[in-house]
């Protein structure tokens, strides 16, 4: 079995966002980049499958050299091989990312492909389904439980207020949601080993964006709220404000 995990590098969720000088992206100065948190569930699932029944495992990322950090984190968690598809610039949309990943995966031909359900930068939840459709493969996203039986798969997908049970067949693409497993913390030995582990580099195969960010803005600043200071004695006043002023109750 060959398993690929597509990973991306994103600003840490504690990042305080500032707009960069181009006005079209965030200012990356001082920002800590991490492996996309949902990708950790994807990596962990692949590594557990490898440990259970043996598999060749790959981490694949599309991006600039910096994205090697995402692959290295995947190495630390137990992925064996890594491929970086080098973006020709840093201006690419979801279609370009999906097309490049699909081209690389088409060459690699894995039996199973994992993604994090979405990356916490653009939050689109778009790439896994786009890649799957480009490759004519089935996909299930937001998966919290996965059972594989030969080439049959059964997945639990989280939906609003519940879950769906979905069946499909391999090869397939699975988008991992929190709850799928408990990602491991890399130990010191694996962290040291990941530093010298090689990453295969491929050049980008596609660069024709279908969309373009024309500006990026911070949310409008909020006016000062009405903060009442008398604890439980303020409860009646709060209800009155919500009713008469905010007209929300």
């Amino acid at each position: 079995m060959k398993i690929a995990v597509c990973v991306s590098l994103v600003p840490d969720s504690t990042t305080k966002v500032k707009i960069g000088s181009s006005g079209k992206s965030i200012d990356e100065n001082g920002v800590t980049f991490i492996l996309n948190p949902y990708d950790e569930f994807a990596v962990e699932e692949a590594v557990q499958l490898k440990e259970k029944s043996g598999a060749e495992t790959y981490a694949i990322s599309f991006g600039t050299d910096k994205s090697k950090e995402a692959i290295k984190k995947a190495y630390q968690m137990g992925i064996e091989k890594g491929i970086l598809i080098k973006a020709s610039g840093d201006d690419y949309d979801s279609y370009t990312v999906a097309k490049n990943l699909a081209d690389a995966l088409n060459e690699l031909k894995p039996d199973l492909i994992f993604f994090g359900k979405q990356s916490i930068d653009f939050d689109g939840m778009a790439i896994p389904g786009m890649v799957a459709t480009l490759l004519n493969l089935p996909y299930v996203n937001v998966v919290t439980k996965l059972d594989i039986n030969g080439s049959e798969i059964s997945a639990e997908r989280e939906i609003e207020g519940g879950k769906e049970i979905i069946t499909s067949t391999l090869p397939a693409i699975i988008g991992a949601q929190k709850g799928l497993n408990n990602p491991r913390y890399p130990n010191l030995k694996s962290i040291m080993a990941s530093k010298s582990k090689p990453i295969e580099e491929k050049s980008s195969t596609y660069s024709g964006n279908k969309t373009e960010v024309i500006s990026m803005n911070l949310p409008p600043a909020k006016g000062k709220g009405k903060i009442l200071e008398n604890g439980a004695d303020s409860a009646a006043e709060l209800v009155k404000l919500l009713r008469d002023e905010a007209k929300i109750i």
Partner: protein
């Protein structure tokens, strides 16, 4: 020439408010672009049930019967994302629709990536606004979980958009001119091979409102001190008809299920009312809820960051405030 198709989601044969929001926005956009729009429904609802969309401005409505579609696979399934994606894409291609709108629900976000590829369209998911300049569409999309907003221009003839729920207005019109036309799976070339993913079972928690869809949310954080105290949150929520939410800290501690988590690694919400109890307001939490229309914070720490985004707040011990607040709400509701 642009032409708009609104895919109208029906789950368990019912329309949610997000469906009406999508119809209204399709109608508004068709007015701005001066183009036609139609709605597509795949469900087992009767024509009369579907005609309610006409109250929001839908006139031309196409219906594909879900049971008929599922029978192509031999029946006995709930629905198939892959087959529905194919059906929407085929219908759009056969009839020249260039703009396809989805609700940005879990369902819409699962279908739209496939439909964008099958129709050779740009895809911009989870948007909060659409504008048109010289016939070119650009949209507003929250990024970094709402810490910033990107204005994105579409450089493609075809585009697929999904609309964040609770943001676009569902507006009733004066008259209902809805006309429902049936289409068949055969006309959309649906074959058994298109059912590559099949939903065999849907399990819904009874009587619970999901935070992602709720118009009101009462959320608890570490200030609740333990899972045994969340009955205070649940009771207040039940009085005002709200969903219960939670911060990442209490989900990680195992006090509450992940399905309730609001924030950058949970759900991004924009309800009409968000009441944060004992939540300090870590940046990753604020990211997930700061677009709520009215934010109320209850916290004993007057310097808690949550007060900086709050429209209203009470500084005080929530174990004293919540029971009184519940009674005060009861008096007026």
């Amino acid at each position: 020439m642009a032409k708009i198709l609104a895919y109208i989601e029906s789950k368990e044969n019912k329309f949610k408010n997000s469906a009406f929001e999508t119809v209204s926005e399709a109608k508004r956009l068709s007015g701005v672009l001066g183009c036609d729009f139609a709605s597509l429904v795949i469900s087992n609802q009767s024509a009369d049930e579907i005609k309610v969309l006409g109250e929001y401005g839908a006139e031309e409505i196409f219906r594909l019967n879900l049971d008929e579609m599922n029978s192509v696979k031999g029946g006995n399934i709930k629905y198939s994302y892959s087959a529905i994606s194919k059906a929407v894409s085929e219908f759009a291609k056969q009839n020249g629709y260039t703009i396809i709108l989805f609700s940005g629900t879990g369902f819409g976000k699962a279908l739209s990536p496939a439909v964008s590829i099958l129709t050779d369209s740009a895809l911009i998911p989870d948007i909060t606004g659409i504008s048109v300049n010289d016939g070119v569409i650009s949209v507003t999309k929250p990024v970094y979980a709402g810490k910033a907003f990107a204005e994105i221009k579409v450089n493609s003839e075809n585009v697929v958009l999904s609309l964040r729920p609770n943001v676009f207005k569902a507006e009733k019109t004066d008259s209902n001119n809805a006309k429902v036309t049936d289409i068949t799976s055969a006309s959309l070339n649906i074959s058994a091979d298109d059912f590559s993913t099949v939903v065999t079972e849907v399990v819904l928690s009874q009587g619970k409102i999901d935070v992602a869809e709720a118009d009101k949310i009462v959320s608890g954080g570490r200030g609740m001190k333990g899972p045994e105290n969340f009955h205070l949150i649940e009771e207040l929520a039940s009085v005002i008809g709200a969903a219960t939410g939670a911060s990442r800290a209490v989900v990680d501690a195992g006090w509450r299920p992940h399905s309730e988590q609001v924030g950058q690694t949970g759900k991004t919400v924009s309800p009409g009312l968000y009441i944060a109890c004992g939540i300090s307001g870590a940046i990753q939490h604020l990211a997930g809820m700061s677009s709520s229309k009215c934010i109320v914070a209850i916290n004993k720490d007057k310097d808690a960051p949550i007060f900086q985004v709050a429209d209203y707040g009470i500084i005080g011990d929530l174990f004293e405030v919540l029971p009184v607040l519940k009674e005060e709400f009861k008096k007026v509701l």
